[in-house]
Assembly symmetry: C2
Homo-oligomer: 238 residues x 2
DNA sequence: ATATAAGATATTGTTGACAATCTCGCTTAT
DNA sequence: ATAAGCGAGATTGTCAACAATATCTTATAT
């Protein structure tokens, strides 16, 4: 029997590097726009430059790193406009995911949505967590549950592996956003419930519309806050 | 002055390999599900395994290759369900792109749409090309023009660099789909015009709805044909 | 003093060799 | 005769050295 090593030893060394690098970027340990030298990183992770370069290529494909030939790689730097476009893209994708979830989720899965909603209500009654940039590492929050319920491998991949990491990055450039009044939190709760109701009724149109309305409202309010404008009675047109 | 080399020598060797590998996959030269050995590929392209492996990692990120550790890489194999999910994801993304195109396109760009529509009409009057899987290598067809007009870097990237290549692959597993009656072609033309009209009027809702209707109709008819069912008076609900 | 150009240095790009792992064919025992 | 176990071959994973390119420093000329 072999002694259990500390690191999970998930087969290829490259995958470990990808995970650790992504973690470092998502936690803000590596700041946005920071230039990374291969030598430094390979020393830091204790591996050669070969696997490291493959890991960089992988993260580059997920838009977390940007490379300029013969110059080096930098952590992606997201502007306010980038964030807005990201949230708009999310509306399209999660809207469709919600539609397909209404069509394809099992009865058991829809019950899990109710469980999640209750847990969410408990947690924000206690701590008032921020909704948009919520850490999805657990992979069982409401939005992720709905996305996976779509049974659409492309939607699941794009949303969970590309969009969510990019949104997570933005969380660390705007930590001051966590104000989120109790009022808004209760609105979010109602919006979440509207989505679940639509999915339970297998009403695809309503499910997409409800998700879109929820995300449009969140984006509008968030961008207004970030840009320092008054919220101006945010309209939630689907 | 240096003698011009045959290959464009676009900086990094890896990028050339990526382009050539992608080309080989998209043209069907490398069949779906085919197993690829690194040694064979590196011999074929006349490069070492280092850059080749980086290229493989890049294509893997675009879902064109699938890797199983210590076993090798295979060209992605797309089922009929995969294609349907792909087309559904496309509806979400291009629908939103059309919406943002209505909001952000310049006047000059909207005129280009008209030019493209006329050119498209000419070409299908002569050859009757298939619409869904049209080769987008030129990068100036109607759909690409609209997507770029959205000014949304994430939409543009996902649609052009991920979705379109995957759709292109499907083209070679279903060459028998090129029937496409003249009747359908004229309907497509009207749908295209409806999209352009909405964009010209800066009507975002209408632009998204028109694009969605167009793509839903195309998907419905295509899948019905591929699955051998009768088209059954395809409804085009937005 | 400033701007330009040439060289030194550091970093990225590439290569071939070495180690770890899997696959397939062969032997052997029931 | 068939199945399990072993070993040879092939393939993937990793590493350290070499070549190409960019960046920074320094010297020189205006």
């Amino acid at each position: 029997m072999r002694i259990m090593t500390l690191q999970p030893a998930s087969g290829a060394l490259v995958d470990q590097i990808v995970a650790r690098l992504e973690q470092a970027i998502l936690t803000g340990e590596l700041a946005q726009g920071q230039k990374l030298s291969e030598q430094t990183l390979s020393d830091r992770f204790g591996v050669s430059r070969g696997p490291l370069r493959e890991a960089i290529r992988t993260l580059e494909g997920r838009q977390l790193l940007e490379r300029t030939p013969f110059s080096g790689v930098r952590v992606v730097q997201l502007s306010l406009d980038d964030l807005e476009q990201l949230l708009t893209t999310r509306e399209a994708l999660e809207g469709m995911a919600s539609r397909q979830a209404a069509e394809n989720m099992t009865l058991h899965e829809t019950r899990q949505l109710r469980v999640r909603l209750a847990a969410f209500e408990d947690s924000y009654r206690r701590e008032g967590v921020d909704g948009v940039f919520r850490v999805r590492s657990a992979g069982d929050d409401l939005h992720t549950l709905i996305v996976r319920g779509s049974r659409n491998r492309w939607l699941i991949d794009i949303i969970c592996n590309e969009l969510y990491p990019l949104l997570q990055i933005c969380r660390f450039q705007s930590t001051a956003v966590t104000l989120r009044t109790r009022q808004r939190i209760e609105v979010v709760h109602r919006e979440h419930e509207a989505i679940i109701v639509a999915i339970e009724r297998r009403d695809a149109d309503a499910a997409e519309a409800a998700m879109r309305a929820h995300l449009v409202a969140s984006r509008t309010i968030l961008m207004a806050q970030l840009r320092g404008e008054p919220p101006a009675t945010a309209v939630a047109g689907a």
